[in-house]
Amino acid sequence: MTDTLLLLVYIIVFPGFIFLLAYALFFEFLDRKISARMQHRVGPPLFQPFADLIKMLGKEVIDPDGVDRHVFDTAPLVALAAVMTAFLYIPVTGASPLAFQGDLVVVLYLLMLPTVALFLIGWLSRNVFSAVGGIRAVTQMFIYEVPFFLALLTPALMAGSWSISDIVLWQQEHLWFMVIQPIGFVVGLIGLQAKLERTPFDIPEAETEIVAGPWTELTGRRLALMHLTSDVSLVVGSSLIAALFLGGPALPWTVSPVWLNWIAGFLLFLAKTLAVLLILSSMKVATGRIRIDQLNAIGWKYIAGAAVVQVALVLIVDYFGVAV
């Protein structure tokens, strides 16, 4: 009974949905604030993302002519549900109670769903900007997804486990994968930036070219939910990178009592995800948008190449049984 209750608390309150939503909005605030300060602007106040969310939730929902309303209503919900579920498998204060062999693959799969939802929205919008944006989103997905998957699977390969929590444990005993697999770390960060459609990979929603891409016809709560999905994806992506490459919430030594250990792990989680966010924000501020054909060339030539090299290195090391 208490186990079920604890699990429910884990899923719904902490570190599940409520914490996740709050953290996602805080993340958006930080992201906007960091880029604003780097661009010599003032930036938003702390509760701005929250205010935006509430405001958009209350706005009128407009159905474009001839659009399948149900799909339009469902797609943002599915996207949000997918990324929120993904977060449950990521260790926040210690191993996730839901962890199982293969949860890494599930998380990667769930993280892919928002892009598919976005494509669907774009395709169904009956709007040329949305359609072009949707096609771009899916084209971009085929470019970054392969190196991103390869980069995130190499830690699993070396740790010999398909569970994120196990990979964190492995790093606790050995070394951070950022140190062992620097190429994979960089590719993972670039892939994450592309997945989140942030500059230089904001090609699907390029404001000056195609208005807002698939987002163009989204209004009211659909837009609010899609924005929230982006924010949550940012948190999930950052924590995934933090867990796989930066050792996650695991401390190198054990602190007693347990609750202190738990808090220390949580603080580590916060610090590491924020560090990842800082890198992602800097990347966003320091670049302009590249073109889809340029991304295609760069993605397959260099990024995918680097990921393959990383996998090959891991396999060779594994084959010769070099102990790390």
């Binding site: 040329v128 500059t199 070219e209 948008r289 590249i290």
Partner: protein, 376 residues
Amino acid sequence: MPEVVIPIGPQHPALKEPVNFRVIADGEKIIRLELDLSYSHRGVEKAAESRNFIRVLPLLERVCGICSHSHSTAFSKGIEEIMQLEIPPRALYIRTIIAELERMHSHMLWLGVAAHEIGFNTLFMWTWRDREVVQDTLEEMTGNRVHYGMNEIGGVRCDLTPVQVNKALSRLPNLEERVRKYVDMVNDQETMLIRFKGIGKMSREEALKFGAVGPTARASGVDIDTRRDDPYLAYQEVPWNVVTDTAGDVYGRTRVRIGELFESIKIVRYCLENLPGGQIRVNNPPKNAPEGEILSRYEAPRGELVHFIRTNGTDKVERVDIRTPTLANWTSVAMCLVNQNLADIPVIVAAIDPCLSCTSRITIVNHKNGKPGRSG
């Protein structure tokens, strides 16, 4: 993929003013571009005919928000030539200073817009911040940030005090340093290079054929600049160079504009340091202009601006015709866009620094039903 018509405008986030491009694209490749200009015809020329010269100047200044000084200078220059007025050198120098400050803030604005078009918002924010320095200087000198109202027939409206001159001079080194930073960014920033180099290429022959003017033409190696070719104001006395580039693409146009920023700083510094004394305007300039026609050329930030003025012996013009540089550059844009990528439209269009409302000189009337709109 079949051909798709993508409407850009009249309302579009990339456009600051109304214009309509119908882009016919095959996937992401542009096949053809159809332009529909003139959404904001304001009847400035007609209004100018019903006002006397004193009241025309503020009106013409409002043709454009960026190159407001250009229009009033081009007009007053023409009228003064018809009246055969000898403008005091101090007035010419002050006009030159304002003109070059205007060019500086215009080019900085452009650099920010071009960066914004490729999604590089950091440079956008930075250039617009630094542009404030120039605007502050203009505000101190003239009292206004946008429409300076500095020109009068026969001179300028107000004098520069030594305090203003020193304040402006003290701002220039900092500004120069910032512009140097932009040069570094344009030459080193990877995403800017891949989005600017080889995009919207136009050869020297094409630039001449399509009648491009200003930085657009100079970037293709056409060595034209009204300030040197048909000198006016104080440009003859100031040491400066015409900046050209051979690249012919958006990258070249960026380099020309940044080069002109340096030249403008040089000109402003020289003029401020060597400001001649004396009057700032002619005493009692005549109210009426004798009958005559004049073509007044002026190098606005965007290229050669032409005012054709016909007077009839009264204190009003009989006809004033304004050819803005943007109008001269439109054909080159339509040409540059063919076979380019869909994603490059904003930056290629922005590369000529279009000023759309200033260009709206014509109303197209459908000859079949006599109503305004696109003719059949």
